[in-house]
Symmetry: C2
Subunit: 161 residues, 2 copies
Amino acid sequence: MTLAVALLLLIGQACNTKAEKQENVESDKYELNAIFPKGEKGSEEFFTGNAYAIRLVDADSIHTTLAGNVYFEPGARSNWHTHPSGQILIITDGVGYHKIEGQPMEVIKKGDVIKCPPNVRHWHGASPDVGLQQLYIIPNTEKGIVEWLEPVTDEQYTSNN
Amino acid sequence: MTLAVALLLLIGQACNTKAEKQENVESDKYELNAIFPKGEKGSEEFFTGNAYAIRLVDADSIHTTLAGNVYFEPGARSNWHTHPSGQILIITDGVGYHKIEGQPMEVIKKGDVIKCPPNVRHWHGASPDVGLQQLYIIPNTEKGIVEWLEPVTDEQYTSNN
């Protein structure tokens, strides 16, 4: 029995060592795969909880597309906001929520892809227990990027309506 | 000594079991992280070697953006091709090459992001020994998607010029 416990501990340590070789090990217990550098902590003006954002593709007049990555720690979410030309989200790891005003909240997870239409109020973020790694794409940036609105309340975050 | 070997084997098995839980375990020895389903094998008309593609975002008249994932097995690459509105590549795992005609070949790896200008001849694919997982984004799809050209020869693939 003691040997079995020792084996389990060793196995656990070996697997963790593998994960720790990555440049960006996440702090939550599910150790999400971090493809990109973590980036800067998102402003409290626009996010509730700990969210980290890095810009990957700057908009230019040729591609007219902006892209980046946001890592939401468990419980973290964006404020409500709109995009004049809409948004595409690609979830690369973890579990989170996406809410378009007036529609049921969607659970989003690794491999999911979501489109949000232009000028529609929405928010996105991690689930309470598991973080979220998400790429965002904003097309047609000549129309604008984002309009930030009010925070998502705890009641809105925990409601499925 | 025998116990040490047994421990190592057990540790190896435990870590592999973790990897095998993923839906899409890659066949190459580096076991790239597969975020999306593998998709369909790319046609020999457009690819050399084994490449697998899945569409993630269909173009529509609102977002005018197309996105998908390509997994290139080691040695696989696209034909030469052009995009009328350019292309953005986001590398999510592995190591590969990107070549714009007339420019030095770029080595691309996990976390790299590349822009290719409109109407420029280029190709991309895996390195000879490690596969490549790459997201592609094609903006402004109202201008078109892709024009396929001739295969990349072995000489072009192994040349760094």
